[in-house]
């Protein structure tokens, strides 16, 4: 399946195109099974989040990446704790893949005082400082720029940590996206940009975002390799991402990976996505990355329905436990609204304004 990878740009724009994983390098069976099981868990996690949202168990919105699991898993499954992730609003599952506890993630959805952001940001905007995951904002492409700064710091500190920065195809229309890639190219920064091209930016087709067929072409303009990969093929994504990550770690600079994929559901849980045809959705559901990996593993005799059921059952219990913890966790106290603004406290100043009277 990895042969589906297209490399329209790498040859033209490649600088120091050293490859750690040549096309012949085998990915071990354990890794293949891990890629599958992680995707499956991501799917189960998000479907649970969607149910909880529909049941109004938490407020706010949720932006499911169901259908895009291969891209998220393939590109982040092997990151080290010291590596950073710059997630967008649709990368909630990147937290899980990097190892964020489910209790923290569900506390995030529920806006509890125990959530990583103390109930502040938004349900799906999960970041996690201990694992270097930037808490996302909703302004598009901002995370790429901040992630680029983390890469700058890593380069200045002469360590070999990398940054994986996510964006969607819609964000490539913003000047900010280009500022980040341009700067990373100029400074040869250790960062991998993953553009998840799911064809729709909310309701707007990719055809209205860019004239090029492959977004990876844009890397040419910044002087580093760009590559388009089947974003529903986890093995292909993994292979391409590993090469890019290894290049970044070893001082070879940034890479832009375009993963062509599709979100099964609307932009958010309140978007029925009527701007897409049923045929298009069905066509992409037929390219389900998890089902594809099942076929792949089956051919290698690495898959059984029992194994899948076992993962599903065990993970359901983990999800149940995390949901229970989140639901029982306390809400923030109202007064905590005033906290975490500065390194100093502003409560006293906001609450006890002194009234002055004439003294003369």
């Amino acid at each position: 399946m990895a042969t589906k990878v297209k490399e329209p740009v790498a040859a033209a724009a490649s600088i120091n195109h050293g490859s750690a994983n040549s096309d012949n390098a085998l990915i071990g069976n354990d890794k293949l099974k891990q890629l599958y099981s992680t995707m499956l868990k991501c799917r189960l996690l998000e479907e649970r989040a969607r149910i909880l949202k529909k049941q109004a168990r938490f407020k706010g919105n949720y932006y499911a990446a169901v259908g895009q699991e291969a891209t998220a898993v393939g590109s982040t499954v092997d990151l080290r704790p010291e590596d950073a992730i710059a997630p967008s609003h649709r990368d909630f599952i990147a937290n899980f893949i990097k190892g964020v506890p489910l209790t923290a993630m569900f506390s995030q959805l529920y806006g509890r005082s125990t959530s990583p952001d103390k109930g502040r940001s938004a349900p799906a905007h999960c970041g996690y400082a201990p694992l270097n995951i930037i808490t996302p904002s909703s302004t598009i492409a901002a995370q790429l720029n901040i992630g680029t700064g983390i890469a700058l710091a890593n380069q200045m500190k002469k360590n070999d940590n990398v940054v994986v920065a996510f964006s969607g195809e819609g964000s490539t229309s913003l000047g900010f996206w280009h500022e980040a890639l341009n700067f990373a190219g100029v400074r040869n920064l250790p960062i991998v940009y993953i553009c998840q091209n799911n064809l729709w930016a909310e309701s707007v087709s990719v055809k209205l975002q860019t004239k090029v067929e492959d977004i990876s072409l844009k890397a040419i303009g910044y002087g580093f390799p760009g590559i388009t990969v089947d974003g529903n093929d986890v093995v292909a994504v993994y292979r391409v991402a590993q090469e890019a990550i290894e290049r970044a770690r070893s001082g070879g600079g940034p890479t832009l990976i375009e993963a062509k994929t599709y979100r099964w559901y609307g932009h958010s849980e309140i978007d029925p996505a009527k701007y897409r045809t049923a045929e298009e959705v069905e066509e992409w559901k037929a390219k389900d990355p998890i089902a594809a990996m099942e076929r792949y593993l089956s051919a290698k005799k690495l898959f059984t329905p029992d194994w899948k059921q076992q993962i599903t059952d065990e993970f359901a219990k983990e999800l149940d436990a995390a949901v229970e913890v989140a639901e029982k966790a306390p809400q923030p106290e109202p007064i905590e609204c005033l906290d975490y603004l500065y390194s100093f406290d502003i409560r006293e100043r906001e609450l006890n304004r002194k009234i002055y009277s004439p003294q003369f």
């Binding site: 109930g119 700064g149 983390i150 700058l152 710091a153 700067f183 390194s343 002055y356």
Partner: protein
């Protein structure tokens, strides 16, 4: 040695870069060129191109790369050459830097010190003269400072770099080489200035002027002129910090003088004077003996280039004296 405001900035950067290897500079023309006004002269030579980064011409990435580097433990000091060009970085400043600590529940922070050159009166025209301090004073999560003296230029910059919050440091281009404010700063002293309080630059008892930046010079001249004219005793407060505002020093002063005149180079509507007026009206209403008066630029875009237009736009000593007359004679 008597030094200028610009020398003080350069010295502060030099000292902080020597003290902490995590301090680095990034901005347009700051390296080889030494800065559009010379604020970073000599720093590339001493600290090298990795710590004095000549950035691409892109304010957004100057600030956001700094945010990321600060998250990763460094102490970036990005520069915006003219505040007029800060708008491409507005998302980075107001949505990212200002909100990162809050949105991450205190777990992620970005202690950057964004040096911004601002201010008019030099014939720079619409896009080299603006005073957009209010945009940032309005944004919780940012600290905004505007030193008006040479000592503050140095001490506040050094303190800002060590502050665990994003600080926007507004430096007025007219003060860079303003001879009257040169000061003797002892060399080798680790001069750190307070980042939380106003300073009373001239004590008085009949009325209070609140101002900041270059306007402080004009306010002090106006106060002197009134003292000569009719013996009026005008207190002059240098705001120093525009966000978060030090209400108490202002309110305490007004409670003594009963009269308030606010002088700002920024235009009028929703400027810093509006906030101070409202605060005084809310918290010291009984202290007021006269309506609050604001001296500001009119509500037109920035500063027109032609000299008569610029003079009409900018507050000056005569306008402040006139305002003080109105406040005192009410």
């Amino acid at each position: 040695m008597s030094v200028t405001y610009l020398d003080a900035i350069n010295a502060a950067l030099t000292e902080e870069m020597r003290r902490d290897p995590g301090v680095f500079l990034i901005g347009e023309d700051i390296g080889v060129f030494g800065g559009a006004f010379g604020a970073t002269k000599g720093l590339l030579e001493e600290f090298g191109a990795d710590r004095v980064i000549d950035s691409p011409l892109a304010e957004g990435i100057i600030v956001s790369a700094s945010i990321g580097a600060a998250m990763a433990g460094l102490r970036p000091v990005p520069e915006i050459q003219f505040v007029d060009f800060i708008t491409p970085a507005m998302d980075a400043i107001t949505q990212q830097a200002a909100k990162l600590r809050y949105r991450s529940g205190g777990s992620q922070t970005c202690p950057i010190t964004l040096r911004v050159c601002y201010g008019g009166g030099t014939g720079g025209g619409l896009y080299h003269s603006q005073t957009n301090t209010t945009w940032f004073a309005h944004e919780p999560g940012l600290m905004v400072v505007a030193p008006a003296t040479v000592s503050d230029a140095k001490g506040m910059l050094k303190a800002s770099i060590r502050q665990d919050d994003p600080v926007i440091y507004f430096e007025h281009k007219k003060l860079y080489r303003w001879p009257a404010i040169k000061e003797d700063l002892p060399e080798g002293d680790d001069l750190l200035a307070d980042l939380f309080h106003c300073a009373i630059r001239r004590p008085g008892k009949d009325a209070t002027i609140v101002t900041y930046g270059f306007m402080l010079q004009l306010a002090l001249q106006a106060a002197d002129q009134l003292a000569e004219e009719n013996g009026a005793s005008i207190e002059v407060i240098d705001l120093r910090v525009l966000n978060p505002l030090d209400h108490d020093t202002i309110l305490e002063s007004v409670s003594r003088t009963g009269r308030l005149c606010i002088v700002q180079e920024d235009h009028r509507t929703l400027g810093i004077g509006s906030e101070i007026s409202a605060t005084v009206a809310e918290q010291a209403f009984d202290c007021l003996d006269a309506p609050i008066v604001r001296v500001s630029a009119p509500d037109v875009p920035a500063i027109p280039a032609a000299e008569p237009l610029e003079q009409f736009y900018m507050p000056n000593v005569a306008k402040i004296v006139d305002a003080l007359h109105r406040v005192l004679q009410y």
